[in-house]
Amino acid sequence: MKKFILLFFTLTVTIYGYTYNEMLIKAQIAVFPKILLLDKKINNKLVDNKIVFIIAHEESDGTTAANIQNIFLQLYKNTLSNYVFETKTVEFSKISQSTEATAIYILNSQTAIKDLSNICASKGIITFSYDINNLKSGLMFSLMLEKNTALYINKKNFKNNKIDFIPSLYEIVKFINTQEDEQ
């Protein structure tokens, strides 16, 4: 716990490209990887016996992505529970059906989110979004700093049978409704 208190200020994100909320990024980094441990089928998603966590970004957000990777490194030191935990930064344009990853943390993009979510859905890659709005485009998890910190999921995006979380996860999340759901 203490290291998180220390680390929540560690990064002065000198951001060019999209503007990000530093604290929101730090909160997401502290929570998202741990969610992977609640996936009953996590072992099927390992890449070379490692959890591979991609930070997907636009070219203009390269510095931000590198800084985020650095926080991951400081916080997790390449280990997540009993797994080797590896982070990579990859531009949206370089992610395809051949990309191997356990999970992807997705930064902002005006054009790439939908394609990326389709790729991830077909491959059973767990997706985490910086921006809550991207859950409407098919991504799975996001986190918001509200009155209390809220972890959001779009359950519609869990239809893929390669993803199966333990039931207690659903007790601590909020469900987001998309327009399609409402119809």
Binding site: T12, Y16, G17, T19, L24, Q110, N133, K147, I166
Partner: protein, 693 residues
């Protein structure tokens, strides 16, 4: 089936079942640990977000947040400049060149309507109930500015009638690994020079943060003719005295020279916050509204020290604090020109004055927060304050002979009540009730009793409803009182001001509503509506110098605020505010701009270079009822900045031009004083260099 199994097979099955149970129990415990870890992280960041106001949209008041580093990129130089970006906030100036932020047009001539906190310590001076001396705080010393508008801004058991400003310095980061050590140099128009640093030191459980700056300029601005031209000190009876020909129109001395050292120390649960600010400025527009000389001055030093103990035990949060604050009004100037006439003497070499009043504030406060009841967080606290003038003297040229040499009138004709004193007892209780994850009520009251005025009971209730992830609604009712300031009660023997110790507090009943539409995690639009029912407002004019609780006024309006981006390389912030109102004589709201619009735009050219612009529009202002001057004209200003960051050597350089189009910016003067109002800076330049370590 089992009965047909061999003993060996049975044993194997039992072992398998035991192992399965152990493994599944172990796995289940691991999963529970992960869930616990996730919820702990979420609670931790929830606490941080609340403390740092990152979840501002879910807080039970109307708040705007400005980040210091973003303001630096914009070329904003001081706290005062930053506050001009706040929706619905304007600035007023008085004859001492006291600069006062005005919220939602609420009584621009009053003292103490808003409060300033530096790292949670209330720093309003006692003499003016203002904080003008802190408005020149360089932006590089400020991590974040939180501005709460409206009386919903009850903070730290201190009543903030129209709004409160909480300045958070980089002391907030002293227990983190964030590196905020830096040196700063600035130079600009009016021969402005500034140097300063911030430094953190840590060892084991002990940490120390310090900031220091020195700055000076030689600013003087055209004032137009002074108040003598309006016949302020001319009389037709019992005999004719006409001082109007003595009126001058020289530049008003508005220069600045100040330095400040702030320190925050922490050791386990104990903390100490201290600051010494030695502020000296030009004598402005004169104690008696007559132009002073170039080197005449107003000193307003401010020093404070607060000791605190913070402890969290299970569901209890305990805070105990005690502190002392000293502030001084020290005015030394030529207060009337050569050949100035009074009924008793002619001051052939002018009249000189030295006014000195030193105030001390002692306080002790404690609060207890309990979150052990399901869905409730209850806070209870008190604050005891003793405010006192501890030293006063008054020297003036000889009132009988007109000789310019100073005579001590401290005992015989003081300018201020040397026995000024007030004790205030405040008790507060509040409950935050979470009806559901989406609906939170906050309700409570402040009870305040002073040794001079009646007791005040100030309730507040608010509801924050999160309809869904994108739509948030707030409704707030609050009542608040502003106790009369020292200026309004204890100035004596003054031709322009007649004070009254029996003044009652001003009251406001405020009804506020807000709707927030979140377009994304970082873009939002906020719409606020407010209705302020003010009563017993304290008011005077130069024609009617008695301070009295004579004004009732209803003020209503709206504020719109947008923050987001146009492309993925920029940041855009815009706000618009409208305010209107009528007093008990059916007179329209005066000396307040009905329309204001402000905004900024930052475009990141490369990953280390950005350009930005700030635009501000302040609408025209109606005069007070008996002021026959034309209404004060509207104005707009445009600032532009270029920001460069050298990542290898970790320094940044900012070049900025303010008021590029050289617009005339004026703050309204009181009627019958300076007919041309108070002119503010025109086009100016600033260069800032910050080196981080």
């Amino acid at each position: 089936m089992i009965c047909h199994l061999s003993i060996l097979e049975k044993r194997s099955i039992i072992i398998f079942l035991i192992l399965f149970t152990i493994i599944s129990t172990h796995l289940h415990a691991e999963e529970e640990n992960v869930i616990t870890s996730i919820t702990s992280e979420m609670e931790l960041f929830g606490d941080i977000a609340t403390k740092t106001k990152l979840n501002e949209h879910y807080q039970p008041y109307i708040i705007s947040i400005f980040q210091g580093k973003e303001l630096e990129k914009l070329g904003v130089s001081t706290l005062k400049e930053a506050l001009t970006l706040v929706p619905g906030a304007d600035t007023a100036t008085d004859n001492f060149n006291n600069q006062v932020p005005i919220f939602r047009g609420s009584n621009p001539l009053a003292y103490g309507q808003s409060k300033l906190f530096i790292d949670g310590v209330s720093v309003n001076n006692l003499f003016f109930e203002g904080y003008s001396e802190y408005l020149s705080l360089p932006i590089e010393m400020i991590k974040r500015i939180e501005v709460v508008r409206g009386p919903g801004s009850k903070t730290n058991k201190v009543n903030s009638y129209a709004g409160s400003i909480n300045v958070i310095t980089y002391a907030e980061d002293m227990n983190s690994d964030e590196k905020n050590d830096k040196i700063i140099f600035k130079a600009g128009s009016y021969n402005y020079k500034m140097g300063g640093f911030t430094k953190t030191y840590k060892k084991d459980d002990f940490s120390l943060f310090s900031d220091f700056f020195y700055q000076q300029d030689d600013k003087k601005l055209s004032s137009g003719y002074d108040a003598l031209s309006q016949g302020l000190f001319s009389f037709s009876s019992p005999f004719v005295i006409d001082n109007r020909p003595l009126s001058s129109s020289a530049d008003a001395p508005l220069w600045l020279k100040n330095y400040s050292l702030g320190m925050t120390l922490k050791y386990k649960e104990f903390s100490l916050k201290a600051r010494t600010l030695n502020h000296k400025q030009g004598a402005g527009y004169g104690y008696l509204y007559m132009l002073p000389q170039e080197n005449d001055y107003l000193k307003s030093p401010s020093h404070y020290l607060e000791l605190a103990y913070d402890k969290k035990i299970d569901d209890y949060d305990i805070n105990i604090a005690a502190g002392a604050k000293y502030d001084t009004f020290d005015y030394n100037a030529k207060v009337a020109p050569d050949n100035f006439k009074t009924p008793t003497a002619i001051f052939s070499d002018g009249m000189y004055g030295e006014y000195y009043a030193k105030q001390r504030t002692l306080y002790q406060a404690a609060s207890l927060k309990y979150s052990g009841f399901e869905n409730h967080t209850i806070s209870i606290g008190y604050r005891l304050t003793n405010e006192e003038t501890i030293d006063m003297f008054y020297k003036l040229s000889n009132l009988t002979t007109g000789n310019a040499a100073l005579v001590d009138y401290t005992q015989t004709r003081p300018f201020f009540d040397k026995d000024a004193k007030r004790n205030t007892y405040t008790f507060t209780i509040e409950d935050e009730y979470s009806y559901s994850d989406y609906l939170v009520f906050t309700y409570g009251f402040n009870y305040e009793k002073t040794s001079l005025q009646n007791s005040n009971f100030d309730p507040r209730i608010s509801a924050v409803y999160q309809y869904d992830v994108q739509n948030i609604f707030k409704a707030i009712y609050s009542k608040l009182d502003r106790n009369p300031s020292w200026q309004e009660m204890f100035i004596i023997n003054n031709h322009a001001i007649s004070t009254n110790k029996n003044l009652k507090p001003e009251h406001v009943n405020a009804y506020e509503a807000a709707y927030i539409r979140k377009f994304s995690s970082d873009a939002h639009l906020q719409v606020n509506l407010f209705f302020l029912n003010n009563s017993k407002q304290i008011h005077n004019t130069t024609a009617h110098p008695d301070y009295e609780n004579i004004k009732d006024i209803d003020i209503y309006g709206t504020e719109l605020e947008y923050k987001g981006n146009v492309t993925h390389n920029d940041q855009l912030y815009l706000n618009y505010s409208f305010v209107d109102g009528k007093d008990n004589d059916n007179v329209e709201l005066a000396i307040a701009a009905q329309h204001m619009a402000k905004g900024y735009y930052i475009y990141n050219i490369k990953n280390n270079i950005s350009i930005s612009t700030i635009l501000k529009y302040v609408g025209s202002k109606e005069r007070e009822q008996k002021d026959t001057r034309e209404k004060l004209s509207d104005y707009y200003t445009v600032d532009a900045s270029l920001y460069y960051k050298n990542k290898i050597n970790d320094y940044s350089l900012t070049l900025s031009v303010k008021n590029i189009f050289d617009q005339k910016v004026k703050h309204p003067s009181a009627s019958d004083t300076y007919p041309d109002d108070y002119t503010q800076e025109q086009r100016s330049f600033m260069v800032t260099y910050v080196k981080r370590f």
